[in-house]
C-alpha cells in the first residue's frame, strides 16, 4: 500500500506540488492524470525517494520513505519516465545490475530474470545489447528492471510515452497481471484512454494540486449523462447565453473551436448548430463523442489535457 499525506514540494518560489493526498491499496491501480508539467513526476519522485518533499509524508507498506528509506525502497519498484538502462550492455546484464541493486543474487536472480523477460516478451533478445533495441523494447526492459524483486508497490511514470502498439499492449498486460498479484500500482499518464482502461481510482492533477479524485465511473458521473460536442470553424465573440438556454454547458471556446456538453446530443444538435451559425460564425467540422475524463479535465480547468502545458 502507498499512502501519500499532505505532500508538498516547493522549488524556490515555485510550488510544484501542493498538499497532495491519496492512497493506493494493494491490488489497485491508482492513476494520476494530468497534463505535462502538472506535478505528476514531482509527486512520483517524492514517493520514490528521488527528491525530498518540502512537507508531508509517504508510506510504502507502512515504511516512511524519508525516515525508514531502506525498508521502504525494498518494497518499491520504479519505472522512470526517462529510460535508465546501460545501452552498451545486454538486456540480461541490465537485469543483473538492477536485480542486485535490490538485493537479488544467485539462483533467485536468474529465475526472476527469466520470468520477467518472458512477461515482457524479450526472452529471445536477452543477450543483445540494449542499443540494438527499438524504443518499445527499451521501455519493456525498463519496466522489467523495476519488477524483478516483486515489489509490493510499483510506480510507473508515463511508461508508454512514444512506444508502438505491440509494446504498449505487452506493458498493459504485465501491469494488469501485477494488479492481480496484489501489487499497489501508481500510474501517471496524460493519455486518458490508458487511465480509463487500467485505473481503479484516479486523481486529476493540475498545477500541483489534485482537482478531482475517485473511481473512473464516479468522475464521469460529475459530467452527468451528457455528450461532448466539438465544433471547429471560424467564430467571433461567441455569446453563451443562447446556447445555455438550449441546455448546453460550454467547456472551452476560442476563435477556432467550441466544446460543449449537452444532453441527448442527436436531438439537440441541429438547434445548437443553428444558434452558433447565426450568432458566432461558420462551422467547418462537428465531432460528437461520449463525455470522458478529458471532458472532465476541460470542465475543471478550462483547458484540454494535451495542450494544457
Amino acid at each position: 500500500m502507498i499512502e501519500v499525506r499532505g505532500l508538498s514540494k516547493i522549488y524556490g518560489s515555485f510550488q510544484a506540488v501542493n498538499n497532495v493526498n491519496f492512497v493506493a491499496k494493494a491490488g489497485e491501480i491508482f492513476g494520476l492524470l494530468g497534463p505535462n508539467g502538472a506535478g505528476k513526476s514531482t509527486t512520483i519522485n517524492c514517493i520514490s525517494g528521488l527528491i525530498s518533499p518540502t512537507d508531508g509524508s509517504v508510506l510504502i507498506n507502512g515504511h516512511n520513505i524519508t525516515t525508514d528509506s531502506v525498508k521502504a525502497k525494498q518494497s518499491l519498484g520504479l519505472v522512470p519516465q526517462e529510460l535508465a538502462l546501460y545501452e552498451d550492455l545486454s538486456a540480461y546484464e541490465n537485469l543483473v545490475f538492477w536485480g542486485s541493486a535490490y538485493g537479488l543474487s544467485g539462483n533467485q536472480l536468474q529465475e526472476r530474470i527469466q520470468q520477467v523477460l518472458n512477461e515482457v516478451g524479450l526472452e529471445t533478445r536477452q543477450k543483445d545489447a540494449v542499443n540494438q533495441f527499438s524504443g518499445g523494447m527499451k521501455r519493456r526492459l525498463n519496466f522489467a528492471c523495476a519488477v524483478l524483486h516483486k515489489p509490493a508497490a510499483l510506480l510507473l511514470d508515463e511508461p508508454t510515452v512514444g512506444i508502438d502498439p505491440q509494446s504498449r499492449e505487452h506493458l498493459m498486460q504485465a501491469i494488469l497481471k501485477l494488479k492481480e498479484q496484489g501489487t499497489a500500482v501508481i500510474y501517471t499518464t496524460h493519455y486518458m484512454e490508458e487511465a480509463e482502461r487500467l485505473c481503479d481510482n484516479l486523481a486529476i492533477i493540475d498545477k500541483g494540486e489534485i482537482i478531482a479524485t475517485g473511481t473512473v465511473d464516479a468522475l464521469r458521473s460529475q459530467l452527468g449523462e451528457r455528450d461532448l460536442i466539438t465544433f471547429q470553424g471560424q467564430f467571433q465573440n461567441p455569446e453563451s447565453s443562447e446556447l445555455e438556454s438550449l441546455g448546453a454547458e460550454i467547456l472551452e471556446q476560442s476563435e477556432n473551436e467550441i466544446r460543449l456538453l449537452i444532453s441527448d446530443a442527436p436531438k439537440n444538435l441541429s438547434s445548437v448548430m443553428k444558434s452558433i451559425e447565426s450568432q458566432h460564425g461558420k462551422i467547418s467540422n462537428v465531432n460528437l463523442a461520449q463525455a470522458n475524463l478529458e471532458s472532465l479535465f476541460i470542465k475543471l480547468t478550462g483547458r484540454a489535457l494535451r495542450d494544457a502545458a
Binding site: 528521488l50 538502462l85 545490475f97 538485493g103 543474487s105
Partner: protein
C-alpha cells in the same frame, strides 16, 4: 556489498567492451615513454650527447690537460669536443649548434704556474639545461683540482713545464724534483688515503648500474601518466551513467549510491592493478626490476590511482554538465602531467617547476615513489606518503558520498 561487486563487475565489463579506452590508458603513456627512449638512444644506459667547443688560445701542456678532462671517463660519453676559433665558436653558439663553449685565455699556463689569477670563459647554450650544467660542474671540479695541485706542486710543475717546453733541466734538478714530489705526497698521504676514499669507489660502482639511466627516471612518470588517464576516464563514467538515467534511478533502490560508488572504485582498483602489471612487466624485462619491486609498484599504483580517481570524481561532481566535466578534467590532466613529473622527470625540470610539481597530488605521489624506486631509499620511506594518500582517499570518498545524491538528482 554484493551490489558493489556487481557494479564493479559490470563496470569492468563495460570498460573491456570499450577496448580503445583501455588501450588509450596504456598505449599513450608507453608511446611517449617509447619516444623518449628512442630520442635518448636505444639502450637503458643512454646518455644525452652534446657538442663542446674549445678555443685554446694558450695551447700549452696545461691547457691541453684541462681540455683533456672532457675526453676521459663519463664526460667523454657526453661531449663531442670540437676545436674552434673565437669567431667560429661564437657563430656556432649563436646558431644554437653547440651546448657549451670553453675558451682558455693566452698565458693561462704561465699565470697558473706563477700563482696568478687566470681566466677560463664558459659560455652555455640557454636552450639546453642538463649538458651545459654538467660542463660547468666539470670545469669547476677541474679548476678546483688545479688549485690544489698548484698549491702543492707549483715549483715542480713549473720545472716539469719547462722540461716539456724544451728548456734544459739538469739531472740534479730532475732528481730534486722527484724527491720534492715524493716528500709532498708523503706529507699529504694521511689525508689522501684515509678509509673514506673507499666509500667514493662504492659510489662510482653505483653510477655504472642502469639505475641512473634515463629510462628508469621516465618509468614512474609513464606509470603515473597511465594512472591519470585512467582516473579521468573512471571519473567521467559517473557522468555517462547519469546521462543514461542510472544514478537517479539508483536513488530509489536500497542498494543505493554508496555501494555504487564503492563498486566503481573497486573496478578502478582492478584497472590500476592491470596498468601496473602491463607496464610493470616492461620494467621487469627492460629495466631488470625485481619481481618484489613489481609487487610494490602494483600496490603503490592502486593506492595512488584511488587518490587520483576520488579527486577527479569530486571535480566531475562539481561540474554542471558532462561536457564541462570532460573539458575541465582534460584541461587539468596535461598541466598535472607536465608539472607532476610524468612528461619530464623531476631531475630534468627547472627548480621552480619542481617546487610546484612536488605539491600536486600526482607529483607528490610520484616523487615519493621515485625516492624508493629510483633513488633506492628503503621501503619505509613510503610509509608517510602512503598514510597521506589513505587520508586523501578517505577525505575525498566522504566528499563524493555527500555530493553524489545531489549530482544524481540534478
Amino acid at each position: 556489498m554484493k551490489f558493489a561487486l556487481s557494479v564493479a563487475k559490470l563496470s569492468l565489463r563495460k570498460l573491456f567492451a570499450e577496448k580503445w579506452q583501455l588501450l588509450m590508458f596504456l598505449t599513450i603513456p608507453m608511446l611517449i615513454g617509447g619516444l623518449f627512449f628512442l630520442i635518448t638512444g636505444s639502450g637503458g644506459n643512454a646518455k644525452p650527447i652534446g657538442k663542446l667547443l674549445v678555443t685554446d688560445n694558450d695551447k700549452s701542456t696545461l691547457s691541453k690537460l684541462l681540455i683533456g678532462g672532457f675526453n676521459q671517463g663519463p664526460l667523454a660519453e657526453m661531449f663531442i669536443l670540437k676545436e674552434a676559433t673565437s669567431v667560429e665558436a661564437q657563430s656556432l653558439m649563436d646558431d644554437g649548434d653547440a651546448s657549451v663553449w670553453l675558451e682558455i685565455e693566452e698565458g693561462f699556463s704561465e699565470k697558473f704556474l706563477n700563482k696568478q689569477p687566470t681566466k677560463i670563459k664558459l659560455v652555455k647554450n640557454p636552450g639546453q639545461n642538463i649538458l651545459p650544467q654538467i660542463a660547468e660542474t666539470a670545469v669547476g671540479v677541474l679548476t678546483d683540482g688545479g688549485h690544489y695541485i698548484q698549491v702543492l706542486f707549483a715549483d715542480e710543475l713549473r720545472q716539469f713545464n719547462d722540461l716539456l717546453n724544451g728548456k734544459d733541466v739538469s739531472d740534479a734538478q730532475m732528481a730534486m724534483m722527484s724527491i720534492q714530489i715524493k716528500k709532498a705526497i708523503e706529507s699529504i698521504e694521511k689525508q689522501l688515503i684515509p678509509p673514506q676514499i673507499k666509500a667514493v669507489k662504492v659510489k662510482e660502482e653505483k653510477q655504472t648500474t642502469n639505475k641512473s639511466s634515463f629510462m628508469l627516471h621516465m618509468f614512474p612518470g609513464i606509470l603515473f601518466m597511465s594512472l591519470l588517464f585512467a582516473a579521468q576516464g573512471l571519473a567521467l563514467e559517473f557522468w555517462k551513467d547519469k546521462s543514461q538515467g542510472i544514478s537517479s534511478r539508483l536513488l530509489s533502490s536500497p542498494g543505493g549510491l554508496v555501494q555504487y560508488l564503492n563498486g566503481k572504485l573497486l573496478a578502478g582498483i582492478v584497472v590500476f592493478a592491470l596498468i601496473a602489471v602491463v607496464i610493470g612487466l616492461l620494467g621487469l624485462f627492460i629495466l631488470k626490476l625485481s619481481l618484489s619491486k613489481i609487487v610494490i609498484i602494483i600496490g603503490w599504483l592502486m593506492l595512488s590511482g584511488l587518490v587520483l580517481t576520488n579527486m577527479m570524481l569530486f571535480l566531475c561532481l562539481l561540474m554542471p554538465s558532462e561536457k564541462s566535466a570532460s573539458i575541465i578534467t582534460s584541461a587539468m590532466v596535461f598541466p598535472l602531467l607536465m608539472l607532476g613529473g610524468s612528461f619530464f622527470p623531476f631531475e630534468t625540470m627547472p627548480k621552480w617547476m619542481v617546487a610546484i610539481g612536488q605539491y600536486l597530488p600526482n607529483g607528490y605521489l610520484l616523487q615519493s615513489f621515485n625516492q624508493w624506486l629510483v633513488k633506492d631509499n628503503p621501503l619505509s620511506a613510503l610509509t608517510v606518503p602512503a598514510l597521506i594518500a589513505m587520508a586523501m582517499i578517505v577525505l575525498f570518498w566522504f566528499l563524493n558520498r555527500i555530493k553524489l545524491p545531489g549530482f544524481a538528482r540534478s
